[in-house]
Amino acid sequence: MVDVQFRFRDDETVNDPAVTVDSFSEQSNATAVRIEPGDDARDLLPYLDRLSLVEVSFPAWTDGRGYSSARILREAGYRGEMRAVGDLVIDMLHHLRRCGFDAFAPEKALNEEDAQSAFDRWENVYQATVVDGRPAIWAKRHPA
């Protein structure tokens, strides 16, 4: 298992073994799942209560399906750890955060300093993704 290099949660790191989406529903004691790019994250919606770790696998960072998977689960109310695993690049860290990832386990460790400036780079954002809790620029332009 690869190490979590960045984590934005106060609770303890979950180290339960993750099972595939296919087998998750059959294993009533499983609390961690791993989503591959071709999996339908919505298959997990009935089980959100017992999930404490969702790993989303990025075999290649240029496959963007994991962004939708994460956001869909967050939109459905999942509050546990959402961990991006695999081929992560510094320049996408900020966007992964915005889609609901709060833990990052790159297969090759990233330069800490460059990664930190990537996380912090964008002070404002054009979209409301709901899941990151940040107000969109349009919300700042039109305060309620």
Binding site: P37, D40, W61, T62, D63, G64, R65, Y67, S68, R71, E75, V89, D91, M92, H94, H95, L96, R98, C99, N111, D114, S117, R121, W122, E123, N124, V125, Y126, Q127, A128, T129, V130, A136, I137, W138, A139, K140, R141, H142
Partner: protein, 544 residues
């Protein structure tokens, strides 16, 4: 036109800083070319045959003169003194050094320009009707909606690594001047029975290897659901678009393979879900944007008279101007297709001259068209002769809009690393063969489009006559297609028979125009005659 506020400016400035950092890491060797490539592409930077190519975004084709002037200055300072206007209303520079690009982007940011998402597998620059805000036949100016979508699609965290590139066009006239249904999403602003403005969505159109005309997917999306519906369309595509084969990865393949009805069902399901999420900007945001697009201060008493005694001017007025919604004004198009020239190219001096003329005579506005020309949207008829004289002195008065000389061509094998054949020399030969203004006038509207490979950047599927360059056993070969159209009557061109050499294809086109002139009835255009008499008479003349 739209002016950045502090937020827009900050977004663009931040992007410049981010890109500067990426270039630094690349030059330091921290990023390999393989890692850097998808990142630089998101900033419009390609590595071509000879050098880097930088594509600068011109959102919905609208520019002010300060921006246009800078585009000319960049051509001088960082390129070889010219720029190339593209079929997606952008501008490209073909001779750029990697280490200069952060500085170029910083200069662009000072005039509210950027190269964000002009390439890569993300939502690209949003295109629109080049006559927006000036055309007599529009129900509303489409650009505020395009701007709303521009902001939404810029750095959208979920949609930066889509299966493939994604192009959106927004129009608001019955006459489609933007090839709307040949886009991944085409949006037509419409009025419903209650008189409310909304958006009609088409999805799954495109050119490339597998040309498709986008089917209608929703009759009417209310303005306060525009972003949410767009997000639903994109999410379904991001999740289910094919990623196993880049040639089958565009949304048109998904819509085709699922079938239009199933794609619509999935989008509607996602839409219903997303409506529960507070992601839609308030209508007040649309109103804020709209305020930037109010009409300029037209002179209500501007004279409608035009002195056409100069025959060259008269020809240009007849060919290159279009009715304006305001009496006393016209929309004037500057053709970047001089006889023997490179379609879409303009020198730095020409770019700056057009900027100056726009400032003095077109309320500081210019447009780039998908046919690679430049438009002055609001010219007083009283000023038109002065404008024309200045253009004429600069070699910019070619009177050939929408004629056989007004060729769309991709950069082809002269620049592009994907091309199989050259496009530019073919365009040059055709424009020389049909060089006389009288001959072009006789043939009338004939949209000719050339692509140097099956990726179809030169839109050959949508040409009344299309030319596709292929590689045939190591030799450049040109296939001829007839009957395409990008307008309200969108159709895809069909291949007519075996291919030709470079000179052979020019001869074949000449024969086709002779068949047209011999068979033309009344006011028929080439396309109309072709549709009426069919391909056979043309084939007979060309191959017989």
């Amino acid at each position: 036109m739209y002016k950045y506020d502090e937020y827009d400016q900050q977004m663009v400035d931040t992007r410049v800083a981010e890109f500067r950092d990426q270039v630094r890491r690349r030059l330091a060797g921290d990023l390999t070319e393989d890692q850097f490539k998808p990142l630089r592409l998101q900033n419009g930077l390609y590595l071509q045959l000879h050098a880097y190519m930088l594509r600068v975004a011109v959102p919905y084709g609208t520019l002010n003169s300060a921006q246009m002037t800078l585009l000319g200055d960049i051509a001088d300072k960082y390129d070889r003194g010219y720029g190339h206007f593209t079929t997606r209303q952008n501008i490209q520079y073909n001779w750029i050094k990697l280490e200069d690009t952060p500085d170029i982007l910083a200069e662009l940011a000072k005039v509210e320009m950027h190269a964000i998402q002009t390439s890569g597998n993300c939502i690209r620059n949003i295109s629109s009707d080049q006559y927006a805000g000036a055309a007599a036949d529009e129900i509303v100016d489409p650009r505020p909606y395009a701007e709303l979508l521009r902001q939404w699609s810029s750095f959208h965290p979920e949609f930066l690594v889509l299966p493939r590139k994604f192009k959106i066009a927004v129009i608001a006239s019955e006459t489609d001047r933007a090839a709307m249904r040949l886009h991944d999403i085409g949006i037509k602003m419409v009025k419903n029975d209650a008189g409310e403005i909304g958006a009609r969505f088409y999805a799954g159109g495109g050119m490339g290897r597998t040309p498709m005309i986008a089917p209608l997917i929703r009759e009417f999306v209310p303005l306060d659901q525009l972003i949410t519906f767009s997000e639903a369309c994109l999410r379904v595509y991001n999740r289910y678009g094919r990623r196993d084969n880049k040639y089958k990865a565009r949304i048109k393949i998904l819509v085709h393979e699922l079938g239009r009805d199933e794609y619509v069902r999935q989008v509607e399901e996602e839409f219903a879900h997303l409506l529960t999420q507070p992601i839609e900007p308030p209508l007040a945001e649309l109103e804020r944007i709209k305020a930037h697009f109010v009409d300029p201060g037209f002179d209500a008493n501007a004279s409608d008279d035009l002195d056409l005694t100069d025959p060259d001017f008269r020809l240009w007025v007849e060919r290159n101007t279009h009715a304006h919604k305001q009496a006393g004004y016209v929309i004037a198009t500057v053709s970047l297709k001089p006889v023997g020239g490179i379609p879409g190219d303009a020198t730095a001096d020409q770019i700056r001259l057009m900027a100056k003329l726009a400032k003095d005579y077109s309320f500081d506005e210019l447009r780039v068209t998908h046919a690679q020309n430049i438009v002055f949207p609001h010219v007083r008829k009283a000023d038109l002769y002065t404008v024309w004289q200045a253009l004429d002195e600069a070699g910019l008065s070619t009177a050939n809009l929408d004629t056989v000389g007004d060729i769309i061509a991709c950069p082809g094998l002269d620049y592009c690393s994907l091309a199989n054949a050259r496009s530019i020399p073919v365009a040059q030969k055709i424009s020389e063969r049909f060089g006389s203004a009288q001959r072009q006038a006789e043939i009338g509207e004939l949209k000719l489009k050339i692509s140097g490979c099956i990726n179809a950047c030169g839109h050959h599927h949508a040409g009344h006559i299309g030319i596709l360059g292929v590689d045939k056993k190591g030799l450049e070969n040109y296939q001829l297609l007839f009957g395409g159209s990008e307008g309200a009557d969108t159709s895809l061109a069909k291949i007519i028979g075996p291919g030709f050499t470079e000179d052979g294809v020019v001869d074949a086109i000449e024969k086709a125009t002779e068949v047209y002139l011999a068979n033309k009835q009344g006011e028929e255009r080439f396309l109309d005659t072709y549709r009426r008499i069919g391909m056979d008479p043309f084939k007979e003349a060309i191959y017989g």
